[in-house]
Every structure is written in structure tokens, then in C-alpha cells.
Amino acid sequence: MTTVAVKPATMAQALTRALRDAMTADPSVHVMGEDVGTLGGVFRVTDGLAKEFGETRCTDTPLAEAGILGTAVGMAMYGLRPVVEMQFDAFAYPAFEQLISHVSRMRNRTRGRMPLPITVRVPYGGGIGGVEHHSDSSEAYYMATPGLHVVTPATVADAYGLLRRAIASDDPVVFLEPKRLYWSKDTWNPEHPTDVEPIGRAVVRRTGRSATLITYGPSVPVCLEAAEAAHAEGWDLEVVDLRSLVPFDDETVCASVRRTGRAVVVHESGGFGGPGGEIAARVTERCFHHLEAPVLRVAGFDIPYPPPMLERHHLPGVDRILDAVARLQWEAEG
């Protein structure tokens, strides 16, 4: 038996590797989008694929997001597995009609006869100093669209594992890539790449007994940091990484909240009408009598994404998370 070196890799590298391995494993996997070919994508996630697999397997499309997704629908109808890249979150909006009216519904419309195994990769979220339209968190739209799976990794290993599983899924998956984690590094064994929990399973990233931070994607590292800082204040916080918003893992989340009795949902997306409302509501429905305090939410403000120079005020940071934890009615305990 040989031991394989466990080397550090960035999330972007793990994603590239996932695409490459998926394309090698299955000739029906096709990557398409703006600048994904020669350039390798503006985040270089598709780097080298056009060279290795040819331009028909990794295709620079015309600049038209509805056209990209719409033609991907047709390709999927014919048995291909398109992996579509939307260049930035806000540039997925032109494709919403195709996404809502067709991608999410074709299987149901045809009673299972015409599944659409399409993966839509969307770099999302802020914190990268991007100008307007380059930092949106649009997961609320996807969550509210039945028929889509909505997946988002927070670790290097998950980036690989979840993307492989998304591409292999017979359901359409909106795969949200946290832009500011693209260059996050972790040691990772590329020989055991799929040994991650499947889509639909949340993972406890840190155990704790005082309260649960429920989070996903770009906010996972922030919550872990907050949990560290919370020690100083005497709180032992548990951090749950959802990994997929749809399907939602009620079991893992509720088990944690029932244990701790308190919860804060943390995400970058705007609070009002955002994922946190759904999460807080369903946790409360299921764990009401275990709750010592209402489930609180720490989210982006209900404003258009701010200019880069102000984004740090908008993004949920350690302090704001700790402030929320402090509001979890600890006095009642004493």
C-alpha cells in the first residue's frame, strides 16, 4: 500500500480537479459558459479543461446567460450533463426564466421522463472588494424554487466532493461557490476526494454546548472564528455547516439545537426574505420546547450590496455574531 501525500490545495483548485475528474469519468459531462475555455474562467476554475478535453467539451459560449442555460437544457434533454458557469451571481439573473420555468420543472412536467441533470455553478457572495453586481448572495431565489437542489461548500474537501456529487446527480443543482473562499487553503488528499457526506447532509464543524451557529458557505469560517472568540466570553458554541440549503438537513440541525437550546443563523444574504427566515422558522417549529430563546439571525442588511469600501459593515462579522449570541437571553438561565 502506498501512502499519498496530503497536500494543501485551494478551493478553486479542488473545484478544477472535480470538473476534470468528472469529465474524465463521464464523457457526457460538458462545461460551458463565458470565458470558461481559453481563459479558464475569470476565477480560473475551468483552467486547462479546454486544452485537455477540447473546445466542444469546455465551451466558450456567446455572452448570453439565458442562452447558455437554455441550450444546456436542450443538451441535457439529449443525454449530456452540462455544467454551466455563471460568471458572477448577479449575471445569473438573465437566466432566471430558463431556471425557474424549465430547469427546475422539466422532470416534474414530464413525470420523470425528461430529467435535466444540469449543474449551474454560481460564484456568489462578497468580501472580495468587487464593484456592484459582483457580490450578490442570491440563494434565497434558488431556495424558493422547487425542483432545484441548492448546494454550497465551505471547505476544500467539500468543494471537490459536493461538486462531483452535484454533477453526478440526476437533479438540477445550483452550486454556489463562495468567492471569498476560492483561495482558502486546506490540506486535502486528492486520492480520497469523495469521502465527504452526500448532498443533503449538514455537518457539525465544531461541537459546543452553549448555543448553535447555523451557517453555510462563506460564513462558516467566520462562525468558527466567532466560536473561538466566544470562548473568552465563556460560551461554548457549536457550528453547523449546512452544505446544502435544498435538501435541508433538519435532523442534524435540530439535533444540535435540541442539545444546546439556543441558535443563531448566520449568512451574508439579506435577512428579510432570506434563507435565515426559513431556517429559524423550521427549527422553531421542530424544537420549540427545547428553545431557551428565539432563534436569532445575523445576516446582511436588507439593502443592495454595498460598495466595496463599506462592505465590511454589511457582512456578518465576529462581533455581530457575538452580539447576537449575547442576546440569547442568558440571564433567564442564571
Binding site: 442562452g67 441550450t71 436542450g74 414530464t110 425528461m114
Partner: protein, 381 residues
């Protein structure tokens, strides 16, 4: 010495990127709608083809009438009739080989059944039953598309995928004059041309998008002229001349099959009935207009030709009528039975891998249905 020569060194050069066009295909479409019936070319038309077209036209018209009658009887929720447009519907289906794909718009039930789909299954959506009644793979017919023009990129993607797989498959996509205004029309045609996908776009210009006349939809000389901007050939054809529509579509299909890329075909036709049974066409157009078009009826045009060539004997005409009546009778009979829908199916195909949420909701509905049943049976709830 001319002024230009005086200028010496710097002759105006085009920018380095500019290349003169070399493709011999004419840039502009036919100047007037192409006709076969009543012209000299008609003599060359294959009698068998003309008879097949005629059979289908008559059948189509009968189908429209029967379906409209079914809406009045409450057996169909809604029906968008294609009476007056049968030539386009039928020619589109007949221009394709069995292995090809059809991408219909919501008005194109006739093309769908002409491809071989069961006439009752084709009405599943419109009767309020499930969203698509037929298996798209059985006859290679995509679901009737309700959101306008959204099916066009699907056709392009499918044709492109087939070509990548080395399959000899052409896709024909149908859209209305109104649908050409949507962004998806533009994006689909552009992708098709850039990819040289084997796809044919058929625009049925029937003069209206519900109440909106063509003049409020476009200022172009014709819808076929839109082809120029994508670098594909555009053809303008009389949409009521079944032989002409068939010839033009068949040529476009052939071109696509041979690797020549996409074609845009505009068929000029007219919607004789209202937009759907729910629409009141008198609010936006007069009878005279409709009457003018009745004189240009696709069945009459073809009948004249068949008669002229002695192809419409009593025997054949009788068989055609009977075939249409039999289809209508069968439709009536089968549409008069209520379809049986199982509410539990609502959850079955939302996902390949269902979710916890849906399992909960499924259980809720099952409990409700059981309670309902018990109520009806008079048992205690």
C-alpha cells in the same frame, strides 16, 4: 494626380479585423413569400406528398374544430386553435425524419399529433390534466412550451448535442410572430449560428400576438429578415401553401443535416379563430380581414392544385374525410371520460432524489386524503 495620390503614403485601410464576406448564400430572404401551389413548380411536386399533406390538413382542421367543441363542453380547459395555420403545422411535422426532434409552441398541437403523438395525450396539458401528456422521447417531441420562445434554445442545445454525439438528428423549433420579440429568440438564433447547429426555426407569422398586430411587434421588412443579423439564411414563405412550406422546410432540414447550419423560416399565415376559446377577437380585428384570409385558405389552395392535377378523386376525398371523422369521434369518446389523477403523484417527480420536506408534505396530504375518504364513507374522522 488625384487627391488620393497626392496624399501619398497613407491610403485608407480597413481596420485589421475586417474581412470581406465570402459565403455565397444570399443575405436577404426572398422578396415576396415563396409559393408553390398555383405556380409552375407545382407540377413537380410529388403527388404522394401532396396527398399526405392534404390528408393531414383535413385531419388538422377537424381536430381544431373538435377540440374547440370540447372546450364548450367543459372537457378542455383551454384550446388555442390553429385553424388557418394547418399548412405550417402539418408541413413542419412532415419535413422531419422520424429520428429528428420537434420543439412545439403551445399552439402547435397539430404538428405534435402529425408527428405521431396520440391526439388525446397531446391535449393532456390543455384539459387541466398533467403538464405534459406524452413521452417526449417516444416521438421526439418536446413538451408544448407555454413560456414563449423559451423552447428555442432547447432546440439549439439538443441539435448541438446530437451533432457532438455524431447522430444525424435535426431539430425543428416553432415560434409565433410575437415570440420573435423575446430575448430568448435572439439568443437561440445566435447560439445556433455560432455553433452551426442543425436546427430550423419556423416562425408562424399569423398576424397577431393575442390582440397585438404585427405592426406593433416589429418594424422589420419581414421576420425572415432577422436571419441576416445572425448570419443564417432567411426564407419567406406563404404559410398557407402547404407545398411551399414543406419544400422550404425540407430544404432547410436538408441543409442542417448536411452541416450547413441553421435556417430561419417565416411562414406568413393567419389565425382564423380567436387566440383561444377564452379570447374575444372582435375586440381587436374586423370580419373583413378574416374573410380575406378565408379566401386564402390552406385547404382550398391545396384542393385546387389536387383537382387541377386530377389527384382528388371521390374515393381519396372520401377516405380523407372518413379518417378525419374517425379521429374526431375517437377524440370525443376518449375526452369524455374523466382522467384519473392521483394527488400523491404531485410529489413523485419533483426530484430524482426526494427531500425530507417533501416526504413530510406527502405524509400530510396522505393523511388528509384518508380523512376525506373516511368523511365520505361516513366513518368517524
Amino acid at each position: 494626380m488625384t487627391v488620393m495620390e497626392q496624399r501619398g503614403a497613407y491610403r485608407p485601410s480597413p481596420p485589421p479585423a475586417w474581412q470581406p464576406r465570402t459565403d455565397p448564400t444570399p443575405l436577404l430572404p426572398d422578396e415576396r413569400p415563396y409559393r408553390v401551389l398555383g405556380t409552375e413548380t407545382a407540377a413537380e411536386a410529388d403527388p404522394e406528398l401532396l396527398r399526405r399533406l392534404y390528408t393531414q390538413l383535413v385531419r388538422g382542421r377537424r381536430y381544431n374544430a373538435q377540440a374547440t367543441a370540447l372546450t364548450k363542453q367543459g372537457r378542455l380547459a383551454v384550446y388555442p386553435s390553429s385553424t388557418g395555420q394547418e399548412a405550417c403545422e402539418v408541413a413542419a411535422a412532415l419535413a422531419l425524419e422520424e429520428r429528428d426532434w420537434l420543439f412545439p409552441s403551445y399552439r402547435d398541437t397539430l404538428a405534435v399529433i402529425a408527428r405521431g403523438v396520440d391526439p388525446v395525450e397531446a391535449l393532456t396539458l390543455l384539459r387541466g390534466d398533467w403538464h405534459t401528456g406524452y413521452d417526449p422521447y417516444a416521438h421526439r417531441v418536446a413538451p408544448l412550451s407555454t413560456p414563449l420562445a423559451t423552447q428555442l434554445p432547447h432546440a439549439v442545445g439538443l441539435a448541438h448535442a446530437a451533432r457532438l454525439k455524431g447522430d444525424d438528428v435535426v431539430a425543428l423549433a416553432m415560434v409565433g410572430d410575437g415570440g420573435t420579440s423575446e430575448g430568448d429568440f435572439h439568443e437561440a438564433l445566435n447560439f445556433a449560428a455560432v455553433w452551426q447547429a442543425p436546427v430550423v426555426f419556423l416562425v408562424q407569422n399569423n398576424g397577431f400576438a393575442i390582440s397585438v398586430p404585427l405592426a406593433k411587434q416589429t418594424a422589420a421588412p419581414s421576420l425572415a429578415h432577422k436571419a441576416v443579423g445572425y448570419g443564417m439564411p432567411g426564407r419567406l414563405v406563404d404559410g398557407n401553401d402547404a407545398a411551399a412550406v414543406h419544400e422550404v422546410l425540407a430544404a432547410a432540414v436538408r441543409r442542417a443535416r448536411e452541416g450547413g447550419g441553421p435556417t430561419l423560416v417565416e411562414a406568413v399565415t393567419y389565425r382564423i379563430d380567436a387566440h383561444t376559446n377564452a379570447d374575444d377577437a372582435t375586440r381587436y380585428r374586423g370580419d373583413t380581414e378574416v374573410d380575406t384570409w378565408r379566401e386564402h385558405d390552406p385547404i382550398v389552395l391545396l384542393e385546387r392544385e389536387l383537382t387541377h392535377r386530377g389527384l382528388l378523386d371521390e374515393d381519396f376525398a372520401g377516405r380523407v374525410r372518413e379518417d378525419a371523422e374517425a379521429m374526431a369521434a375517437d377524440l370525443r369518446a376518449r375526452m369524455n371520460r374523466d382522467p384519473e389523477l392521483d394527488p400523491m403523484h404531485l410529489f413523485d417527480q419533483v426530484y430524482a432524489e426526494t427531500t425530507g420536506q417533501l416526504r413530510e408534505q406527502r405524509a400530510l396530504l396522505r393523511a388528509e386524503l384518508e380523512a376525506e375518504q373516511q368523511d365520505q364513507e361516513g366513518g368517524p374522522r
